[in-house]
């Protein structure tokens, strides 16, 4: 058992949990949380893949990719949240 194996499997499990949530969650916020889990799973895999046995010198390229990915996902999350807020406002107003 090495850290890369443990965290690699963790990442895959987290991705699969997120996928299940994204497919089945009914609440809009919850679905977004599930998608966030998927993104973390993908991040885990890249960080694990960058890990090398002498642990002080991992491959920096995947690290840069994950940082890029984190910023991209927060952007997408913000847009989705804005849609959720606006939609809820419209729906509530129309129900009255």
């Amino acid at each position: 058992m090495t850290p890369d194996m443990i965290y690699g499997l963790t990442g895959i499990a987290v991705f699969a949990i997120g996928l299940a949530g994204a497919l089945c969650a009914q609440d809009r916020l919850r679905r977004l949380l599930a998608l966030k889990l998927c993104s973390m799973g993908a991040g885990f895999l890249l960080v694990v893949a960058a890990w090398r046995v002498p642990p002080d010198a991992p491959d920096p390229v995947p690290h840069a990719l994950v940082i890029t990915g984190i910023v991209v996902v927060v952007s997408a999350t913000a847009v989705a949240l804005a849609l959720i807020r606006r939609l809820q406002s419209l729906e509530t107003r129309d129900d009255d």
């Binding site: 998927c38 993104s39 993908a42 890029t68 849609l83 959720i84 419209l90 729906e91 129309d94």
Partner: protein, 483 residues
């Protein structure tokens, strides 16, 4: 400063997007100028590709795999040209759709989002690095969702949110696939994939990326988000989304399959089967659609399916031909569908509704828009001499000569279905007996009909020059050298 047209094809729309965002009052002038300038850059690039066959720029001077290179060949320039030309005409059409002070805000946000979308799509067509492609599809996704909800109606917002979820999930599946590619191959450039040895990690990577792209391009059964999103957007946005945006993911799919050495009979056939399901299911849904724009959106689902049938129509040995046919159909659909959505938008604007059942009750007949719609439908159904016909004919011919008769049958059924659902619309255009009032005078055309009409004529006319188009697509051997 560099004179590399690829760099400019990326930076011009980006600078344009920033400029229109900073100066919203001048958005129309700056926006049109940037799209036109991008067209110019693509023309220069086409000249280079004609001369050299293939052009590459290693950005930052760092060669792949460390750096990211831009690469253009016949296929990418074809996609770029389609994107820019269709984009320019849709932009011109948008001038009319978003005119007036009430539309000020829509206009102000249409331009930056559309120019960012153009940046993203150009980036995809020039990209050679799979992680970079991931970032590009996210640029496209955010801009496209912004365009989807431009009208601000509840239906559009719901569809936009659904589209957003599908987009994020598709992109993340792709990203996980990128992770598996790195795990096994240790590099991210497409060229590095060719030499990779087949392995479980590579199969997982390919599966993840393909499913992610299927979700992005809305291949059955992952098309659930498309009809509502495309039907509820404003007309210019629908034209961009349906004509251009779904093609970006399709293009990545084509490129990926060209570089991934893992395509076997099962995988190719299952792509075709999903395509066939899309053709049949989408056709039935289009027959049942009550609104014109919804019908057009379902026809996009059908056409995506057709492109996947084209991809599979000659099995793995015939992939070289199949890619070509698929590319031809992508081009044909891009041009015709943009024309059709804009024409549908014009009809809706003139009639005040787009309920198919009531098309023949209208006291106003936007004849030129209806004519445009019909011309676009000719290409989409696949009647001669349109580009759609050439694509479909090559598909049928290829399937027959390699003995895959089932693809012939499915394609024919799909064609019949498309004749049937478009006939519903034509009947509404041509019947006058249910009208209560006489047709109002001089409502037949407007200046705003010209951009879609030009596109529709192009969809037909390109069929007449299909041979040079095909030889252009093959410049730089995007599909590998002929066997």
């Amino acid at each position: 400063m560099t004179t590399d047209p690829m760099t400019f094809a990326l930076f011009l729309p980006l600078f344009g997007a920033m400029a229109v965002f900073l100066l919203p009052r001048a958005s129309v002038a700056i926006g049109l100028a940037s799209v036109a300038a991008t067209c110019g850059a693509v023309l220069f690039l086409a000249r280079d590709v004609l001369a050299k066959g293939e052009v590459m720029t290693a950005l930052g001077g760092w060669e792949a795999p460390l750096g990211i290179a831009l690469r253009a060949d016949g296929l990418s320039v074809t996609m770029l040209s389609m994107t820019c030309a269709v984009g320019l005409l849709v932009s011109l059409g948008a001038l009319d759709s978003f005119k007036g002070t009430g539309q000020m805000r829509t206009r102000q946000y249409f331009w930056p989002l559309w120019l960012l979308l153009l940046t993203g799509m150009n980036g995809v067509y020039l990209g050679t690095d799979i992680f970079n492609l991931y970032v590009m599809i996210e640029v496209i996704a955010l801009a496209a969702v912004g365009l989807t909800v431009l009208s601000g109606t509840r239906a559009a917002l719901r569809a936009g949110l659904e589209y957003m979820y599908a987009s994020i999930l598709g992109a993340l599946l792709f990203l996980l696939g990128v992770g598996f590619v790195y795990l096994h191959v240790g590099r991210l450039d497409l060229a590095g994939l060719i030499e990779a040895e087949p392995s479980g990690a590579l199969s997982a990577a390919l599966a993840l990326m393909v499913v992610g792209l299927m979700l992005k391009t809305a291949l059955f059964p992952l098309h659930f988000w498309l009809p509502a999103a495309h039907a509820n957007a404003t007309a210019p946005a629908s034209a961009l989304l349906s004509g251009l945006v779904v093609k970006a993911a399709l293009y990545i799919f084509l490129r990926l399959t060209m570089y991934m050495p893992l395509l076997d009979e099962i995988m190719v056939t299952s792509m075709g089967v999903l395509g066939a399901c899309a053709v049949l299911w989408g056709g039935v849904q289009a027959l049942r659609a009550e609104r014109l724009k919804l019908l057009v959106a379902w026809s996009t689902v059908v056409q995506i399916g057709l492109i996947f049938i084209a991809f599979a129509h000659a099995g793995p040995p015939g992939l070289h031909e199949s890619w070509k046919v698929a590319a031809l159909l992508i081009l044909a659909h891009g041009v015709a569908k943009a024309a059709m959505f804009m024409a549908a938008g014009r009809i809706r604007a003139e009639l005040g509704h787009d309920i198919i059942r009531d098309l023949d009750r209208a006291p106003v007949r936007p004849t030129l828009a209806q004519f445009t719609f019909a011309l676009a439908a000719i290409s989409i159904i696949g009647l001669p001499p349109s580009l759609g016909f050439i694509g479909k004919w090559s598909l049928l011919e290829g399937a027959m000569s390699s003995g895959y008769w089932h693809w012939v049958v499915v394609t024919m059924i799909g064609t019949l279905l498309s004749v049937a659902y478009f006939s519903r619309v034509f009947a509404g255009f041509l019947r006058f007996d249910r009208m209560r009032n006489p047709v109002a005078e001089h409502q037949g055309w407007a200046l705003a009909d010209l951009p879609p009409l030009t596109l529709a004529l192009a969809a037909i006319g390109l069929g007449l020059v299909a041979a040079p188009v095909l030889s252009f697509i093959e410049l730089g051997y995007p599909f590998g050298a002929a066997p």
